[in-house]
């Protein structure tokens, strides 16, 4: 059955409020966030009150039960502002909530979903110093000791971990690698559990106000029911399902930020004078603006189409991967042109073009690099071809 999500009229009303909130509150607060590398607590509280942490969670757990199309539209609108705003909500929604919804027991949902919807921050621990999408190399272990799980290992590049109350941590529950990644299980780890520590946030190229850090697990003892879904060997499947959702979120972020960047380039081109007229009058500048506009439109179309397919429960791996790959690359091209339109000023930190360029760069990397996505797309093409499927 298709996902209907929220009532469309109510959703429209929310988007209208969100657009205003972005314009009147979130954008004016950007400078402060960049200067202090953190989102002020009062803004976080407002974002919680606005209901931004519960977008896709079921209504009975305090969420708004948005479908994918509505979720990505919300992310697109939110991403007109600094990427840190999306980052702080997206792990809750895209990763941890989605894994809980897909794989959690009723008791686990009851315990965590309302807290996550209300804005307790969660982090998602898959990547390690020596492994990412390649689960065979995973080092973190979970073993049963009496009636408790004991976790040991280190997770790397864990977004929001310095602020998290809950970690969804992947660990191997079997020494031998097993088919379909059945050696990996997922655990719900309260971040204040003894033995859990979070490293110093890493310094990054861009994305100010959003933090990633190592999470160290040293003989972390958890009750038996901390195992997601109560069943071993399902962790990687849940993780990968969450990553599929995450891809569309990055595509949406790329479209939203791309629009912001293009709007900035367009405005600058009408204000900056050269040879006695605004540079927007020069055709080579116009070409950069026009290419950006057309590509942004293409990206938005892909995003909407892919989201609609997900909601219709169609097979959409190729479409979601394509949308993420195209939109993130598109956003980077627009950011590059925005710098170019600004000329020398584009290289100065005084102008926004410079940070747009740095902020965008991550979009072609996380939640699957462009190259991993190429492999995903090609693999599925070849598989479909071999199966004789007509697409």
């Amino acid at each position: 059955m298709a996902e209907h999500g929220m009532d469309q009229e109510t959703f429209g009303q929310f988007i209208e409020q969100l657009e205003r909130y972005v314009r009147e509150r979130l954008i004016p607060a950007e400078e402060d966030i960049i200067a202090n590398d953190r989102i002020p607590e009062d803004i976080l509280d407002e974002m919680r009150d606005m209901g931004l942490f519960g977008l896709t969670m079921p209504e009975e757990y305090g969420g708004a039960a948005m479908n994918t199309a509505q979720y990505v539209e919300t992310i697109r609108v939110l991403s007109y502002a600094l990427p840190a705003y999306r980052s702080i909500i997206s792990i809750n929604i895209g990763m941890v909530c989605s894994a809980l919804k897909n794989g959690g027991t009723e008791a686990q949902k009851q315990e965590w979903l309302p807290r996550l919807a209300a804005g307790e921050i969660a982090c998602f621990g898959l990547t390690e110093p020596g492994s990412g999408s390649d689960s065979a190399a995973m080092q973190t272990t979970a073993r049963m000791d009496g009636n408790e799980w004991v976790l040991n290992g280190t997770k790397r590049y864990i977004t929001n971990s310095p602020h998290a109350k809950l970690g969804l941590i992947m660990a191997r529950t079997s020494k031998e690698n097993q088919p379909k990644n059945a050696h990996v299980s997922a655990f719900l780890v309260p971040m204040d559990t003894d033995g859990v520590s979070v490293g110093k946030p890493d310094k990054k190229m861009g994305q100010s106000g959003s933090h990633i850090a190592d999470v160290m697990l040293d003989d972390v003892r958890l009750p038996a029911d901390a195992l997601l879904g109560g069943e071993e060997g399902q962790g990687f499947r849940f993780a990968m399902q969450s990553l599929d959702n995450g891809r569309l979120s990055i595509a949406a972020a790329s479209c939203g930020y791309g629009k912001r960047i293009l709007d900035t380039a367009l405005r600058y081109s009408t204000e900056r004078q050269a040879f006695g007229e605004p540079i927007s009058q020069f055709q080579l500048i116009q070409a950069m603006l026009a290419d950006s506009r057309a590509e942004l439109y293409a990206g938005e179309c892909m995003l909407r189409d892919a989201a609609a397919r997900v909601d219709a429960k169609e097979k959409s791996i190729i479409e979601a991967a394509s949308a993420k790959m195209f939109c993130s690359e598109m956003c980077n091209r627009i950011a590059d042109r925005c710098v170019q339109v600004h000329g020398g000023a584009g290289y100065l930190a005084e102008y926004e073009a410079e940070r747009f360029y740095r902020d965008s760069r991550i979009y072609t990397i996380y939640e699957g690099t462009t190259q991993i996505l190429q492999l995903v797309i090609a693999k599925n093409m070849l598989r479909d071809f071999a199966a004789g499927a007509q697409r």
Binding site: M6, F14, Q17
Partner: protein, 248 residues
């Protein structure tokens, strides 16, 4: 105490209005509309009074096309308890609006009627004052602060010379100025809850009010385009220029 908050659906304050080619008014086709910002301040103030335990119920009312329902839903999402839509596709002048509001007030018996000092579309700044006159009740216009105490309300008014404080016996009419408060954003959970709040539909005829226009708009035109300035080389040239223009 009950608070009645009239809200108007107007052209969004971020939209640059365009005048129709025939000069008959502003072109509203496919233009984003939203709640009059001054009315939004009135809604916010009513909610704050309710949150402070000074009021029990907030009733939002709008007079306008069916689409004004959206504006009422926004008021409900912000925190109003129920809404009344008086539906009409005609343009309703401030006097007719005041007459309808008077009739609604007779039914609802609010302690306070709080509304924006003016709507940003026609800038009439009349409805609150006309309503007070028709109801023969006190008015506190251009409110900068509002304090309810027992059966009276103290309003600090923004007047040219500063702030003037007036104390009104309720029921009273208060019109809100820009600096009274900063309206909240309607949150997603509250927008969802607002869907279930009651919204009554009425027509001007239900209140026995004739909304026929008393005024005729003869022409609407865009503000004149500002002329470009001129750069002068030095102070002497500036002085000469000022003298030549005769503006010294």
């Amino acid at each position: 105490m009950k608070i009645l908050v009239p809200v108007k659906r107007v052209i969004d304050y971020n939209v640059k209005p365009r005048v129709k080619a025939d000069g008959s008014g502003v072109d509203l086709a496919n233009v984003k509309m939203s709640m009059n910002p001054f009315d939004e301040i009135a809604v916010e103030e009513a909610i704050r009074l309710k949150e402070a335990g000074k009021a029990e119920e907030i009733v939002a009312v709008s007079i306008g096309p069916a689409k004004a329902q959206e504006t009422l839903r926004t008021a409900l999402a912000m925190g109003a308890d129920r809404a009344i839509l008086v539906e009409t596709d005609e343009e309703v002048e401030p006097l007719a609006v005041a007459k309808i509001l008077k009739a609604i007030a007779a039914e609802e018996e609010p302690g306070l009627i709080m509304l924006g000092k003016q709507a940003i579309d026609d800038d009439a700044n009349q409805t609150g004052q006309m309503l007070a006159a028709l109801m023969e009740r006190p008015q506190g216009t251009f409110a900068n602060t509002v304090e309810v105490d027992g059966d009276s309300v103290t309003v600090k008014r923004e007047v040219d010379g500063g702030l003037q404080t007036v104390k009104l016996t309720m029921p009273a009419i208060v019109t809100t100025d820009l600096r009274l408060n900063e309206p909240r954003y309607a949150s997603l959970p509250n927008i969802m809850k607002a869907k279930k709040k009651p919204l009554d539909s009425k027509t001007p005829a239900d209140y026995g009010v004739d909304t026929a226009k008393r005024l005729t708009t003869t022409n609407v035109s865009e503000p004149p385009v500002r002329q470009a300035g001129e750069k002068v080389a030095d102070v002497d040239a500036l002085v000469a220029k000022i003298k030549a223009l005769g503006i010294a």
